[in-house]
């Protein structure tokens, strides 16, 4: 009968064996990030699955990661750059808007994917235990691949505008580019923070399925993607930066395009807000986590 003999379980009678208590939880739970770390392989596999599945059965495959921001950039350039003549901090408008669209794409995808991630993984949540945080985390992190692919276009554009200077515009690399990883991290923190809130809220209130697309659209307008934050009155700049994506986008431009907008105070405000959103998101998620299996 035994096709495969499993190795005998050498029941290690460790003096202090692992004892697990399963009991009702109440109120705010500890974050227990150690456990998430223990399950890092699962998180990795979930990211891997998301990426594998995303472009399977699409004709253009990963090219979609480029097509979306690229054509948005073209449309923005025509309507905002050429027709509305939106000022672009002295850099060519196409590269100006594309630099904003990159982190925006990462954020918008995270919002959409994380929001429905728990509901989409209902089968797993109701059958297997694992830290539920792994699911929205994986869906946010899997967006990094699209981001990296879209980044290739930016590099190409940077070469293009570097060697073929446009009249009336200046564009050059500065050492500020070394800070780019920090702004990517800030984008991820923002995306994860908002994603955690939305994923938990979507489980409890299905209305968020409808709110998220609207929210994403609305958010794009209050973020300086198509325009520059320097257009705003100085005294409003910091209030504007309460939207953490403002700091991210302005930071990206400062780091990559060498715009002399000195977004320091804005980035500080945005980072603070992003971290607050992430921490509250983590706690809210953990608090609601134990109800997911029954509600999802």
């Amino acid at each position: 009968m035994s096709e495969t003999i499993l190795p005998k379980n050498t029941s290690k009678t460790k003096p202090n064996e692992e004892v697990l208590f399963v009991r009702p939880s109440s109120g705010w739970a500890a974050l227990n990030l150690m456990e998430l770390w223990k399950y890092r392989e699962l998180t990795y596999f979930l990211i891997w699955r998301d990426i594998k599945v995303r472009y399977k059965q699409t004709v253009l495959g990963a090219a979609w990661a480029i097509i979306q921001p690229f054509f948005t950039m073209v449309v923005f350039t025509i309507f905002f750059g050429k027709l509305a003549k939106v000022p672009s901090d002295n850099v060519p408008y196409p590269i100006f808007s594309y630099t904003g669209l990159l982190p925006w794409g990462l954020f918008a995808a995270a919002l959409t994917n994380a929001g429905r991630s728990l509901v989409g993984n209902r089968a797993m949540i109701t059958k297997i235990y694992f830290p539920r945080l792994a699911i929205p985390l994986a869906s946010v992190l899997s967006g990094l691949v699209d981001f990296a692919i879209a980044f290739v276009i930016l590099i190409a554009m940077m070469f293009y505008y570097h060697f073929i200077p446009q009249e009336g515009y200046e564009f050059y690399l500065t050492p500020a580019i070394l800070t780019l990883p920090l702004f990517i991290l800030l984008a991820l923190i923002t995306a994860l923070g908002v994603g955690l809130w939305l994923s938990a809220l979507t489980v409890i209130y299905r209305d968020f399925n409808y709110i998220v697309p609207f929210l994403t659209q609305f958010w794009l307008f209050i973020t300086p993607v198509a325009y520059s934050a320097s257009m705003l009155p100085k005294k409003w700049a910091l209030i504007f930066a309460l939207n953490p994506m403002t700091g991210v986008v302005e930071g990206f431009r400062w780091a990559l395009l060498g715009t002399d907008t000195a977004p320091g105070p804005m980035v500080a405000v945005s980072s603070t807000i992003a971290i607050i959103v992430l921490i509250t998101g983590l706690f809210y998620f953990r608090r609601m986590e134990h109800t997911f299996a029954d509600k999802v």
């Binding site: 005998k8 697990l20 891997w48 399977k56 059958k127």
Partner: protein, 454 residues
């Protein structure tokens, strides 16, 4: 060192049903934002009104919150190395117990203490993605079940061999037959090596060959001295694999004994029987939508819902269900099998060409599909009804192989003048004619010719 693997103390779990819409939908437990917002706005208002009119005794008309204790004050201990069976009717709390022990859901009351790494198998193939290949799904499913990557890689060959799908291992599993899919899914699960294994009804799926293989694997695991909690409706599997068994009924632990005694208790105490089965929200997989099975019941000749029908009377099977959206080509039907797993028949509500035409598209709404089993048809014994709702070759919405069981009482059944056991699942009263053949040389009166007249 304690020899206890699992200790469960006063464990309880309450589910709310019908709180908002009063529906039995499996999603009954989520709120819409409107309800919360309306609740927040109207609560003070209601409170004001209520205090104003309190003397007049105005009823606040609070919606009834109906709750069900899926598990109620259950306590037991499982020593290390024991294989414990868990039996009970559908909705008795078995799955809830396993879900709590595997930490999928939290108890409302009480606690469980678990000594050792738990592997839970509430379903095979959890997290399988149809677009991924067999190989990719092995890796993913292994990680979901809690295996380390190195562990999966080490056992990969063994898993593939066990699954018998080597040839298709690089094909997306959406192209697999359901048998191949199950074999692959079970192969991964079978190579899990936890100290405590919690298994739900995973053997209730698949063909006989697959089930034999699963049972073989399960008994290997049991013999290795691991602690196993094994839920099944299959009494022969329970008898074969477990030493001791607990019986759950309506969320309570009602009996614990060595397995043969527990099975005997369960079968004879009437626990296994009521003649009606209501599907609880958590028993309906989301994949069933828009089909929601609600109740299946059996009525005797007088229309009473009973567990035992008389062979000499008609019996009516009623399947109640709701469609949230119209379904084209839906057929709802039943399989009738005996307790010894012999198939008696399969029948669908649109078998009749007229019904088939009339219900080409079944609109959304509530339905009852009723089927009458003629009198003088079934033999005495115990029968199991499985139900199936599907669109032929398109999709299977819902299937429950053990939806309901009932007894047939053979009193006065055809041939009762001889108190002998009749073979076979049916015991029809056929139209026999006895007539003398030619008034011939046969003088022996016992010699008669039998004419089978249909």
């Amino acid at each position: 060192m304690s020899d206890i693997a699992i200790r469960v103390e006063n464990l309880g779990k309450v589910y709310r049903i019908g709180e908002f819409q009063g529906s039995y939908s499996y999603r009954q437990d989520y709120h819409t934002l409107r309800e919360t917002l309306v609740g927040a706005v109207t609560a003070p208002l209601k409170w004001l009104l209520a205090s104003k009119h309190s003397k007049k005794g105005v009823n606040n008309h609070k919606p009834e919150v109906e709750t069900i204790w899926a598990l109620n004050d259950v306590s037991f201990v499982v020593p290390k190395g024991q294989v414990l069976g868990v039996i009970g009717r559908n909705g008795a709390g078995k799955s809830t117990l396993l879900k709590i022990l595997s930490r999928v859901t939290e108890p409302t009351l009480g606690y469980a203490e678990i000594h050792g790494r738990v592997g839970s198998l509430l379903e095979v193939g959890t997290g399988f993605h149809p677009e991924l290949t067999g190989r990719e799904n092995i890796l993913l499913n292994g990680a979901i079940l809690g295996m380390k990557r190195t562990e999966i890689e080490r056992k990969y060959k063994e898993i593939v061999a066990f699954s018998e799908v080597e040839k298709f291992i690089d094909t997306p599993v959406k192209h697999y037959s359901s048998g191949m899919y199950l074999r692959l899914a079970f192969a991964v699960a079978a190579h899990l090596e936890p100290e405590i294994l919690v298994v739900d009804e995973v053997l209730a799926v698949g063909d006989a060959e697959f089930q034999r293989k699963c049972l073989g694997k399960m008994s290997d695991v049991a013999q290795e001295g691991r602690t196993v909690l094994f839920v099944s409706h299959n009494m022969s599997a329970i008898l074969r694999l477990t030493e001791e068994t607990i019986v759950l009924d309506q969320g309570k632990l009602v009996y614990r004994a060595p397995t043969p005694a527990a099975v005997d208790y369960y079968m004879s105490s009437g626990l296994a029987q009521i003649g009606e089965r209501v599907w609880a929200a958590d028993e309906i997989p989301p994949s069933a939508a828009p089909f929601t099975p609600q109740v299946i019941r059996i009525r005797d000749g007088q229309g009473r819902v009973v567990d035992t029908v008389r062979s000499t009377e008609t019996a009516t099977i009623e399947i109640e269900y709701r469609l949230d959206a119209p379904i084209t080509g839906l057929r709802v039907g039943m399989y009738l099998i005996t307790a010894r797993a012999e198939s008696v028949f399969t029948s669908f509500d649109t078998d009749d060409p007229e019904q088939f035409e009339a219900y080409r598209v079944r609109p959304a709404g509530d339905y009852i599909s009723r089927c009458t089993i003629p009198a003088n048809y079934l033999n005495e014994g115990r029968y199991i009804i499985g139900i199936n709702a599907s669109a032929y070759r398109i999709r299977r919405y819902f299937q429950d192989e053990q939806a309901l069981s009932f007894n047939v009482d053979g009193t006065a059944a055809p041939g009762s003048q001889w108190p002998e056991l009749r073979m076979g699942p049916v015991r029809p009263l056929l139209d026999w004619r006895i007539e003398p053949a030619s008034p011939s040389k046969y003088t022996d009166k016992d010699q008669v010719e039998i004419v089978h007249d249909q």
